[in-house]
């Protein structure tokens, strides 16, 4: 459906452009400017929240690429985050490696693990693949905890803030821009991969593997590529997490984290990068919203020790509700609202014509 009247796409290059009309260019510029101005006005708490959101959105976009587009399920993404974080922790502790070594190293470890996670996908589908990634998560978590106990960091590894040259990156405001750049780069990279040959191949594999193969798509290669790219990006998110928090411990990467990332993809809406970002925002803000809700009750002290459990229960409930009543996720709601404004005064799309 066109967003501007009298506007026609006349070449293939225009058809796949990421930013289409002048209005979109302008609104994108305003959006970026607002985001860039945000840290100069925000409180420390809001800044930390924004940083968490950027970290989560890297992981969510990476998982969306794998699950939402290539159709390969992974319940083990917390393992990949842990692998990235532990790579940073180990390299800093053992050889005191700088920032520009640890992050690429984490990406390399992630890519390698991506091959390991992806190999079962060549034989297994759906359910069995989900279970095998789950099993691999437990193996990665075990290796991490084994390293912690063997080297005597039983409570976790402390990572000193990284430095670019002699300038240490420890101010949350600097981190905001680092993480913002990383998240934006991830989104642009994934969008580009998705509008190219690789993206078309992944969608074909997701929709029908046998047909994709018959069309001449190298199914194993593209499946592995999806796993490798997704895992490398997730591991980078884990590495940035370790540097940002300055602390690595297996407890931070529980199975619940994996489920949270899957929830971001579901709640956001399958098959949409925007959905992944919306889902990341939702899941990041959710616990704070619950906490605020409990704090606004008449006697908050009485419920203080229940916050954790309420969080769990409410999170599960929201996931169930989305699966039951809004399988297209937040992005589905967003599209309906947008269409309502675009089509007004009509109620629905014309039956024929472009989508």
């Amino acid at each position: 459906m066109p967003f501007a009247s009298g506007y026609f796409r006349t070449t293939y290059a225009r058809d796949i452009r990421l930013v289409d009309t002048r209005t979109q260019v302008a609104s994108l510029a305003v959006f970026v400017a607002l985001l860039a101005a945000f840290p100069f006005f925000a409180s420390a708490f809001l800044l930390d929240l924004a940083n968490q959101f950027f970290l989560a959105s890297i992981g969510a976009v990476a998982l969306m690429l794998l699950t939402g587009y290539a159709g390969q399920v992974s319940l083990g993404h917390a393992g990949l985050l842990a692998a990235g974080a532990f790579t940073v922790g180990i390299l800093v502790k053992e050889v005191n490696a700088p920032f520009w070594v640890t992050v690429p190293a984490a990406a390399a470890v992630g890519a390698l693990l991506g091959v390991v996670f992806g190999l079962p996908s060549l034989r297994l589908r759906g359910l069995y693949l989900a279970v095998s990634t789950l099993a691999l998560y437990f193996v990665v978590a075990y290796v991490g905890s084994e390293y912690e106990t063997q080297r005597g960091f039983s409570t976790g590894i402390v990572v000193d803030p990284p430095a670019i040259g002699t300038f240490p990156v420890d101010d949350p405001r600097v981190w905001y821009f680092v993480l913002f750049a990383a998240a934006a780069a991830t989104v642009v990279l994934c969008l580009n991969l998705l509008r190219a040959r690789s993206g078309r191949a992944w969608r074909a594999i997701r929709d029908h593997e046998t047909v994709a193969e018959a069309l001449g798509i190298n199914v194993p290669a593209y499946k592995l590529a999806a796993f490798v790219i997704s895992s490398a990006l997730t591991a980078v998110a884990g590495a940035l997490f370790a540097d940002y928090r300055g602390f690595v411990s297996v407890e931070a990467f529980s199975l619940f984290l994996s489920i949270q990332y899957v929830a971001m993809v579901i709640i956001g809406g399958m098959g949409s990068i925007l959905g992944a970002v919306l889902g990341a925002a939702f899941v990041t803000l959710f616990p704070y919203a619950i906490e605020a809700l409990i704090a606004s009750l008449p006697t908050p002290e009485r419920y203080a020790n229940l916050v954790f459990a309420v969080n769990y229960a409410a999170f599960g409930l929201v996931m169930v509700l989305f699966l039951l009543f809004e399988p297209e996720g937040l992005v589905g709601i967003w599209r309906r609202v947008r269409d309502w404004f675009l089509l007004w005064p009509f109620r629905r799309r014309p039956l024929s014509g472009t989508k």
Binding site: V73, L75, P120, R123, L124, R125, G126, L127, Y128, A130, V131, S132, L134, A135, L136, F138, V139, A141, Y142, S145, E146, T149, F256, I259, V262, A263, I266, L306, F308, A309, V310, N311, Y312, A313, A314, F315, G316, L317, M319, V320, L323, L324, P327
Partner: protein
């Protein structure tokens, strides 16, 4: 001797939990990743019935077992019924979400502290000396016997009773079964009820033996490899798988490193998925259906 006893006890735990995975998968092709949580809920129900019927441990136990059955049916009616006909994966993710929800609810109702339903019931749990030098607690011995009884009755149920045959039919071909007048929702609900019932039995007996807390979910999850190794749609497979996984776990803990406990079942699972994804006794065409 003690090692053999440990393997036997652990294998019966895994087998008793694993048959829940098998029952649901075999009838409705859904992998229930909330099985550990359902088992935990059923075990916590014992605490409630223990305080309701204090002084009558057997009544409390039976009451909580029946409640477990009700919980399973309720889960199907409220949630999973709506997921029939959806993609298999959506159903599996729904069980994951259900698991998170149940975990929260359990802490809200029963608190996160470790509890001992054995004390609440006034049920002593002495260790028995076995001929040959091994020791086994009464609860563990009951667990082994229960597993044997459950499997024997499940085999008989699926083989000879009307509902059992309906269940097998629904598992083989839901469309044909429905056309022959089998009420699929009834059969699926029964599968969920039975699965929670057997899982709950395991949960309660483990709780009587070693106390009750949130980590019980991990035991439930570790039984999944046992069911998968044997083949997700085979009850015989679940027993064999449980023996293999439990054997590997106990031996590796004893001879290599106790920290391995949480990871061994999953290593066995990965090895199995690489070699024979459909399991030892599973049916092969399952893979393409998913």
């Amino acid at each position: 001797m003690q090692l053999a006893v440990n393997i036997l006890v652990l294998a019966s735990i895994y087998a008793l939990i694993g048959c829940g995975y098998v029952l649901i998968y075999r009838t409705s092709r859904v992998l229930n990743l909330a099985h550990g949580e359902l088992m935990m809920v059923a075990a916590y129900l014992l605490l409630t019935t223990a305080s309701l019927f204090s002084g009558h441990p057997l009544t409390a136990f039976v009451a909580s077992a029946l409640l477990g059955l009700v919980v399973g049916v309720a889960v199907y009616v409220v949630l999973m019924r709506k997921m029939t006909g959806e993609r298999v994966l959506a159903a599996v993710l729904a069980t994951v979400a259900l698991g998170i929800l149940l975990r929260g609810i359990v802490v809200l109702i029963w608190s996160a502290q470790q509890q001992y339903p054995g004390q609440a019931l006034g049920w002593p749990n002495p260790a028995l000396e076995l001929p040959g030098g091994g020791r086994i607690s009464v609860a563990a011995a009951t667990l082994v016997l229960t597993t044997a009884a459950v499997y024997a009755s499940l085999f008989a149920f699926l083989r000879y009773t009307r509902w059992g045959i309906r269940m097998r039919a629904a598992g083989q071909n839901p469309l044909l079964a429905a056309q022959r007048g089998i009420r699929l929702h009834g059969v699926y609900a029964l599968a969920w009820g039975l699965s929670t019932f057997t899982g709950g039995l395991a949960g309660r007996l483990i709780a009587l033996d070693s106390g009750l807390e949130q980590t019980m979910v991990v035991i439930g999850l570790k039984a999944l490899p046992a069911a998968l190794v044997g083949g997700l749609d085979s009850l015989v497979g679940a027993i064999v798988g449980a023996l293999i996984v439990a054997g590997a776990e106990v031996l590796l803990i004893h001879y290599v490193n106790p920290l391995l406990a949480d990871v061994v079942p999953f290593l066995v699972l990965i090895a199995m998925l690489m070699v024979r994804p459909w399991g030892l006794f599973g049916t092969r065409e399952e893979l393409d259906r998913v």
